[in-house]
Symmetry: C2
Amino acid sequence: MSGNIAVLVGGVGGAKLASGLAELLPPRQLTFIVNTGDDFWRLGLKICPDLDTVMYTLAGLVDAEAGWGVAGDTTAALDSLEQLYGLEPWFRLGDKDLATHLLRTQLLRQGRTLTEVTACLRRRLGIGATLLPMCDADMPTRLDSLEHGELGFQEYFVKRRWQPTVRAIRHPNSAGARLTPAVNGALDEADLVLIAPSNPWLSIGPILAVPGMRRALMNLSVPVVAVTPIIAGAAVKGPTAKIMRELGLPVSAAAVAQYYDGLINGFIDDCRNEALPIAGLRCARLNTLMRSPEDKIALARAGLEWIESWTT
Amino acid sequence: MSGNIAVLVGGVGGAKLASGLAELLPPRQLTFIVNTGDDFWRLGLKICPDLDTVMYTLAGLVDAEAGWGVAGDTTAALDSLEQLYGLEPWFRLGDKDLATHLLRTQLLRQGRTLTEVTACLRRRLGIGATLLPMCDADMPTRLDSLEHGELGFQEYFVKRRWQPTVRAIRHPNSAGARLTPAVNGALDEADLVLIAPSNPWLSIGPILAVPGMRRALMNLSVPVVAVTPIIAGAAVKGPTAKIMRELGLPVSAAAVAQYYDGLINGFIDDCRNEALPIAGLRCARLNTLMRSPEDKIALARAGLEWIESWTT
């Protein structure tokens, strides 16, 4: 594939596909548009979990076992907050990881946009691909839960380990957000848009909720292809399947494809799933389970070959 | 000694006397008024080196060998800033130490004063004595150097390892500072004011430069006693002797006593020094070299006994 690819991506699952693509293609062809709905402030620091996961993955720094954070990190600073000052930090931040948050926060406080700061960080980390936050405004995801009412994303996801029952997902600040020139440009110049196998509701949903994003995707005349996060009735990791049940949806790739209805013209389903019964949607059935680096590259290669076969 | 003691104090040398006093007296009797002229912002964090040194010393956390920082600290965060992002951090901050800077900065950004934040930190660290910044305003010390013109304190002290030749020491922001109610109260209620054997020009000078401080000291009718930082023509540590030479002063306890002229009515000189030729100033000659915990307590005890002998 010789054209430009824009990838909508969230955290761990999406980062795996991102690393497969980065292994396969020259960095100038790749732009990752990353969910920032999970972002939050903690200890006066701006934390961007999904940007960091993609960034650490592409830089080869990621803790491979966890799928996020820096490999071999320690937690002396956060441990000291607890041991010396009695603050129980429910969100763990590694010491090496703190370097990222400190630098990002400092640059933001100097008045730079998150887009500019992210460009600075990824260049310093030697990442050639473009990394873009979905928007520059704060647009935190909030969840309406059965047990605890409205929760911030990290309170739901980390503090309560995504156990509360989700009734609705909201983006209350979306009115103040807009597509950045960088995201607009990446979509304009894309020869292909991929939606990574991230959680559609928690990770891709916020990106789609940025005002203008849905229309921008619908106006494209290039392939827009989503990769299923559901394999054999379950999510590989995280709360995707649980949330689908809570929202009254069948836990199936078909329900995911339906969620993206009107935005996508192609869908990469898993070979373990039953064939999709959705008319008018091009569909491939590939091995989407990425356990090894080879799996990631194989999925990226097979997916791109399939998409190329449409147009040639 | 049963009365209240207010101690003007800077960094390492002063903290030693502070720890001797804290071993000897109940915490409610002790108030430390600490130099904040060395404070600076780094990586978006407010760093207060002298407050931290006194605080870590009183909490029993200090790195005994260095005299500052937290014992057994690591530097993963700062190392990562250098290794991952290419930022050479000339000011080392330990990971455990970062906990302090993160918490302090967050509390300051919430609108609390440095006095309030310091009270919160020292209480959480289990320190019973009162710890006060000399003022709440930013009042950074600046140095006029022969080789590099004007330098910020940390640039002079840490980055250039106090090697530039000092021509003058300035407190350009002092007009915006004032004595806090807490400092005023501590002086009002003091039965004794001690000036610790900290660098008179770099550590005590800024405290004396807070508008109102000199007058407040001069109005006191209690003993105000300085301890010599000069022993046998040299400083125990740091640039005191070097600065005295650069300012055209003899490197002697007499020159230090002269610097405090009008403010002090007693002076604790070192037994190794020649007798002071200053008329009208009560003077003791004690062992002021604090190498061990026992030395610190012995100096505090002997000094207090001598001062008590004036009044009884």
